[in-house]
Symmetry: C2
Subunit: 222 residues, 2 copies
């Protein structure tokens, strides 16, 4: 049914389509055309159709897509029909926000442990889950079959945490620490770099403005 590999660019958009479909279901819309769904997802309709065609033929010509059915097919393709236990390491401000983020838990991702090196915070409850010692990582991974780890530590600790995760058997890492992680071939790392995003915006903003008044940096703010 899905003989060929799905292009990376398509994979990156599947979660967006999924969100759009959920949003349509919330509005009690049971069926939609590629045009409607594409608008809801913020993409071109041709691109949407091509993306979906990589998963199979789940639409009906002349009619459109059944929202519920398509949602299930995408969920299954991504792997959201199964349960994904996740550990979060580094419970600072960001780790705290991630632990409370409903978008994780509502998609089959289950936070099984929050870990931090700071002993003084052990036992503290965050989002109903106690903070435990980082040393327990191996045991937790084995016990729950954790495959995905989230790093929300300072940059200085990230590589060491990542190494420990891989030693414990984790093969997919979501990294929020602003540093490049080096990992073996068979381990996937995705990086979310908050300040990079702002810098990219700044670049385009600088190009938009014909010229900003005054010399940069020296004028005081009254």
């Amino acid at each position: 049914m899905s003989p060929t590999r799905i292009p990376e660019a398509t994979v990156a958009r599947l979660p967006v389509y999924l969100r759009a479909l959920n949003s349509l279901l919330d509005s009690d819309i049971r069926s939609c055309s590629s045009e409607e769904l594409a608008t809801a997802a913020g993409v071109n309709s041709a691109k949407l159709r091509k993306d979906l065609s990589h998963l199979g033929s789940y639409g009906t010509r002349g009619v459109g897509y059944d929202v519920e059915y398509l949602r299930y097919q995408i969920s299954r393709e991504i792997g959201l029909t199964q349960d994904w236990p996740v550990v979060i390491v580094g419970i600072g401000n960001l780790g705290h926000a991630l632990a409370n983020f409903s978008g994780f838990s509502s998609r089959g991702f289950r936070t099984v442990a929050l870990l931090d090196a700071d002993e003084s915070r052990h036992g503290e409850l965050v989002a109903g889950c106690p903070i435990r010692d980082f040393g327990e990582l191996g045991q937790i991974v084995r016990e729950h079959g954790v495959a995905i780890g989230v790093i929300a530590t300072p940059a200085s600790a990230a590589q060491a945490v990542c190494d420990q995760m891989i030693a414990a058997g984790i093969r997919s890492v979501l990294n929020f620490a602003p540093t490049v992680l080096s990992v073996p071939e068979d381990v996937d790392v995705r990086m979310v770099d908050l300040s990079s995003e702002l810098q990219i915006l700044a670049y385009h903003e600088q190009r938009k403005a014909p010229h900003v008044e005054g010399a940069p940096g020296t004028e005081g703010v009254a």
Copy 2:
């Protein structure tokens, strides 16, 4: 000096190079080859050289790059030599983390205001900055010349907040709310979708594992 437009893919990597250069400077390394810098940035050396060639000829053949000089050139190209006032809207867990994130303030991005619709939180200090009412957005944008806005509200409020930002004069938006924003042509939006990243990892993880034991979802955790 930079007559042609810089490719989007290159722009997205410039912040990574900048971080790598800063890291080298921290280790008192004053000069480096494309190979070294590429390793530090986690990319191919040919790609790095081609990326840098879009900015100009800032290296010396047979020698390499002067770390400090290259860092300045990239900073200038991105626009980090000037000051970027930023407003953050939605001071929940995530907004709180963003306000405290040092990676913003250390790169020329200055948080000039934290805004939230919840009156009960007005006046509360977060990262030394008081939470103010969302209604003050227009005045703050005018006063400080804010060009970049960060949305960290729930998805349901994001579009309205975005519309208000644009009405106030903001032309670049960094969106953390899990929803697609519709904006005019001349406004830039970058989306950071935390749960999408996890879903992409899950897709690849599912493909890696030959097959997970047992039926998914029904087995209890002892």
